[in-house]
């Protein structure tokens, strides 16, 4: 035997195991980065970055083809903003309700229900959207039903659990003294909750919103089933018309694409990746500033 005891080797083995586990995530991100940028950036360069990003025609099978992803960039922004409009107010109010107003028996039902909402696979949301929301929007507002509005409502539902869960914990993390102090100064329960506790928890609430946005931007399966997927540049007032998101563009055509078309789709992935990186950077900035 060497000079080290068995305990030493056990320690060493555990150390190596943990380092490997920790680096697996980093290696995965690194590999995806390298692969995506190596394949996507040259293609984007060849097509002309400006023309690719600001082109409004997406005609990949034409001769000559046209690869402009502006309609998809704008489409992704529309459905994400729409999801925020639907999901954020409902989510934050639900979080305040759950943290400050909810009677215990209702909480016992509400909490698992929200967790369940988070666990539903997106294809199920998509099917629900296709057979319930699409006809509902068509009958109520007109149009084909496959629209920016429908996708926004569906995404709003899908980001609810993220927003509610994280906002609720942020609100609960605010020290009780702050609430009690407000009450002591004569504020009502509602005033103390909405004017004192909620603002105190704003960094956590913002974090939940940003994570929700991340989910909305990246959502693919459900969106492509309800959004109509037309690669047409829409104006904001055309919210009853269909749109195609960056994610849908990649997933719908990747199976068929080869050559330049495939490269253009990978480049679409790069743009999406940059979108998500910006959102995550915002999240970390917020975290640093507020020290969540």
């Amino acid at each position: 035997m060497g000079k080290h005891s068995l305990v030493f080797y056990k320690e060493l083995a555990a150390k190596i195991l943990f380092i490997l586990s920790a680096s697996a995530a980093i290696i995965a991100v690194g590999l995806i980065c390298v692969f995506l940028f190596m394949q996507g950036l040259p293609a984007m360069w060849d097509m002309g970055v400006i023309r690719f990003l600001t082109g409004t025609d997406w005609r990949p099978t034409w001769n000559p083809p046209a690869f402009g992803i502006l309609p998809m960039i704008v489409g992704s922004i529309y459905v994400t903003v729409g999801a925020i409009l639907f999901g954020v107010p409902i989510g934050i109010f639900a979080a305040v309700f759950m943290a400050k107003f909810c009677p215990a028996p209702i909480y016992k039902i509400l909490k698992p229900a929200i967790n369940l909402l988070a666990g539903i696979p997106s294809v199920v949301y998509g099917y629900f959207g296709m057979v319930v929301l699409v006809p509902f929007v068509r009958q109520t507002f007109g149009g084909s039903g496959n629209s920016i509005l429908t996708a926004s409502i569906l995404l709003g539902m899908m980001i609810l659990p993220t927003i509610i869960t994280i906002s609720e914990s942020a609100i609960r993390a605010i020290p009780g003294e702050i609430y009690e102090g407000a009450i002591a100064l004569g504020a009502s329960h509602e005033n103390a909750s909405y004017r004192v506790v909620l603002p105190a928890a704003k960094s956590g609430v913002m974090a939940s919103v940003i994570l929700g946005i991340g989910r909305a931007v990246g959502e693919t399966m459900a969106v492509r089933m309800v959004a109509g997927n037309q690669a047409v540049l829409r104006m904001p007032h055309e919210f009853l018309m269909g749109t195609r998101t960056l994610t849908a563009n990649v997933v719908i055509e990747l199976g068929y694409a080869y050559g330049n078309h495939r490269a253009a789709l990978v480049a679409t992935g790069v743009v999406l990746f940059i979108f998500v990186m910006i959102i995550n950077a915002l999240f970390s900035l917020l975290k640093k500033k507020e020290g969540i």
Binding site: F101, V131, R138, T140, S144, M225, Q230, A257
Partner: protein, 295 residues
């Protein structure tokens, strides 16, 4: 105060529920006794889909040789999404393989130039929109003995009977040779057109009843995907619902296994019985956008 908030929350939840129920139970049809009218909701398959490729080519929905299906058409990725979209939307018009469309009672199949896409009309060639179902393999490598045996089965009397049973036109309508099981074992991977997929599933089930030691992996990822998979060595056999392009014929050998029609489909409440090929073309080009302009 707390009670008030709970009360109002309950009221809001209830009213949301009522609105939701109202939406799902209200009428779906256009309730217009004088027939279908209003905006046509054109629904198409995605670029690269074999069904779309064949449809565009046969109906000639092109400008300067390029696929010119209106950009306003809703893009349904996959046959099942297409069927659901048409089944749910009274204004819709779409297209799908006849093998699928004729068996789906949620949609109505239109006649084209007065001809319904029946087996008989496809065999005698009077139905205009029909295309071959093709399987392909890499020319240089040929088929493995096992894959060859499966292909022999497809072209046998038993295999072609499965084709006819599923509502497609067999490539060899009569006098195909009997198939005798070879006793081979192993795995065959088949990938490609989502339209051919369901037929291939039934063929593989019938084949495995005779050769229980063979596993057949059938994937319906789309024509283009299947061809890529075969080229990259990920599939033994590629399925296609359109003729191979010249660039594909450089490395692929095609075998036609069946003929399939493409049915033009609408919502069951739509009272139009048929369209001419030209009308179909104009609808999908986006030149006609109102149902009343068809009547």
């Amino acid at each position: 105060m707390l009670k008030k908030v709970i009360k109002s929350a309950v009221v809001i939840a209830m009213s949301l529920l009522i609105v939701g129920c109202g939406g799902s139970t209200s009428e779906i049809t256009t309730d217009d006794s004088s027939g279908i009218s209003g905006q046509i909701a054109t629904i198409t398959r995605e670029e690269g889909s074999g069904t779309r490729g064949a449809f565009v080519e046969i109906v000639d929905v092109t400008v300067d040789g390029n696929d010119n299906i209106t950009m306003e058409a809703v893009v349904a990725p996959g046959t099942s999404v297409m069927m659901t979209n048409v089944a749910e939307n009274p204004q819709a018009i779409g297209y799908a393989s006849t093998g699928v469309a004729l068996q789906d009672t949620r949609v109505r199949v239109l006649s084209i130039d007065g001809v319904m896409p029946t087996m008989e009309n496809m065999l005698n060639g009077t139905y205009a929109i029909q295309r071959p179902f093709i399987i392909g393999y890499i020319t240089d490598e040929g088929l493995t003995p096992l894959a060859q045996d499966f292909v022999d089965f497809i072209f046998s009397a038993q295999g072609q009977a499965v084709v006819a049973e599923r509502g497609y036109v067999p490539f060899i309508p009569e006098g195909a040779p009997e198939y005798t099981p070879s006793g081979l074992t192993g795995v065959i991977v088949v990938n490609g057109s989502s339209s051919v997929y369901s037929l291939m599933q039934h063929l593989s089930t019938a084949y495995r009843e005779l050769n229980s030691d063979v596993t057949i992996d059938v994937h319906g990822a789309g024509t283009g995907h299947g061809i890529t998979a075969a080229r990259d060595g990920l599939a033994d056999i590629a399925m296609s619902s359109r003729d191979f392009r010249e660039s594909e014929l450089e490395f692929l050998s095609p075998l036609t296994i069946a003929i399939d029609g493409i049915a033009v489909i609408v919502h069951p409440s739509n009272d139009i019985d048929g369209l001419t090929l030209d009308q179909v073309r104009n609808i999908f080009l986006g030149e006609v956008s109102q149902w009343e302009n068809i009547r």
